[in-house]
């Protein structure tokens, strides 16, 4: 069994798998996006309280979910790469970081754009927005550390440690910010959780969440293909592949 596992996990096999899967996931993303956007913007009824501005939820909430989800995926992939020395896990962890950071930034930007009509200010030290901001700093720290090393393997293992330490700290940070914001603001700031969400509003939200996940998988596959080529640049299968590519172009 171990042989299949090693064969399955070898970069060459993963590269070919990635090349095969990327177009499928790309089309899946586009389909889900269209369905989600149509559902969210046109089909879902306007919120009785917030009117149309509530439609920003279809972009804000999925990207907030994704930012945390990607950090967990990144930390787990880093951990797997660290413990079992699987190159692909390091490669996947490295390619997750930029998308995670962009989703966190999106969650912050759309959060403040949603806050403006609802609370009248661009930025509110709401517990969730603040933890999202700290998560952005964690991503930036991860990417800075990732690019600080010359040797690729040391970079992968060092940032895996940072991701794991960050993962342990995320619940601590979340609850301390929650504790801090309830003590400071108290009930003045209306909680920004989704209003008791009607089923028509919920379905587009879930579709958008799936669309973002499919998008995440596509980008990770795309970036890890490049990373693997760089990782394995001196192995034989890469040179054979490059000759083939060169003869075609």
């Amino acid at each position: 069994m171990l042989k299949q596992f090693h064969q399955l996990v070898s970069p060459k096999y993963f590269y070919n798998l990635a090349v095969l899967l990327t177009p499928w996931f790309a089309w899946l993303t586009i389909l889900l996006m269209i369905a989600g956007l149509y559902g969210g913007l046109v089909f879902a009824p306007a919120d009785y309280q917030q009117g149309e501005s509530f439609r920003i939820i279809y972009v804000h909430v999925p990207s907030a979910w994704m930012s945390l989800f990607i950090y967990v995926v990144m930390a787990v992939a880093g951990g797997v790469g660290l413990i079992w020395h699987i190159k692909i896990a390091d490669v996947v962890a490295k390619s997750c970081a930029p998308i995670g950071a962009s989703f966190t930034f999106l969650a912050l930007a759309t959060g403040s754009l949603w806050g403006k009509p609802m609370w009248g200010t661009w930025w509110v030290w709401d517990a969730r927005l603040t933890s999202e901001l700290i998560l952005l700093f964690l991503y930036l720290g991860y990417m800075a550390l990732q690019s600080a090393f010359d040797d690729r393997r040391v970079a992968a293992r060092a940032s895996a440690i940072l991701a794991l330490v960050g993962l342990v700290n995320i619940p601590i940070i979340h609850y301390s910010v929650e504790w801090w914001s309830t003590l400071h603001q108290g009930a003045t700031v209306s909680k920004m959780d989704a209003p008791s969400i009607h089923i028509d509003m919920l379905i587009p939200l879930l579709i958008m969440a799936l669309a973002f996940k499919a998008y995440f998988v596509t980008i990770v596959l795309l970036r890890s293909r490049t990373e693997i080529l760089e990782y394995e640049c001196n192995s034989s299968w890469v040179s054979k592949l490059l000759n083939k590519v060169e003869s075609r172009t």
């Binding site: 700093f137 930036l140 800075a144 040391v154 440690i161 330490v165 301390s176």
Partner: protein, 225 residues
Amino acid sequence: MTSYWNAFRVIFLRDIILASRYRAELANPLIFFIMVIVLFPFAFGSDPDLLRRVTAGMIWITALLASSLSLEGIFRSDYADGSAEQMVLSGYPLTLLVAAKIAAHWCLTGLPLIIIAMLTAYLLSLPTQALQALFLTLFLGTPVLSLIGAIAVALTVGLRSGGMLLSLIILPLYMPILIFSMLAVENAMADIPFDAELYFLSGMLVLSVTLAPIATAYSLRIRMS
């Protein structure tokens, strides 16, 4: 093979003696601390009641920055002259040796920082009932700063962009400590019991005392490879 306790003591005393040879370098974080604290009244004006509200925050943020600046010293000289490699190769568990180094760093920078912070609290007219809270939070908080900081220092020691990268990595991880200490001092000023925040701080201290040396040892091995 002497016992583990001896190994711990040897590394601990070695660091203390090494540091006390360069007393000037020892004083740097403290002078930095006092200088930054003195800057604040120039910025905020010197009327006592405004200062009273902001003092604890100033002291804590400056303590945070001072300790993260002084963290570099834990591994820098050992990494440069190769004694870090000796430690990694020695028969003793690296976690133990690293814990000794972190403890030494805390005694060299954390303790003096607490003493200086209590003195400057008078300078900035902090109400007396908040002094006890400030002392307790600093006493529980500064070891956590050294412990978590040690993980990041072990990762970034000797790198070109080490200093800036170090604070970029550590500050998000320091935020819970800052939040709970500030809340504790605020509650103390308003005569509200603040032991809830102290429980959180001691919880974080216990967590970092157990996990941080292991993570630091692991990071040091990675940095060495």
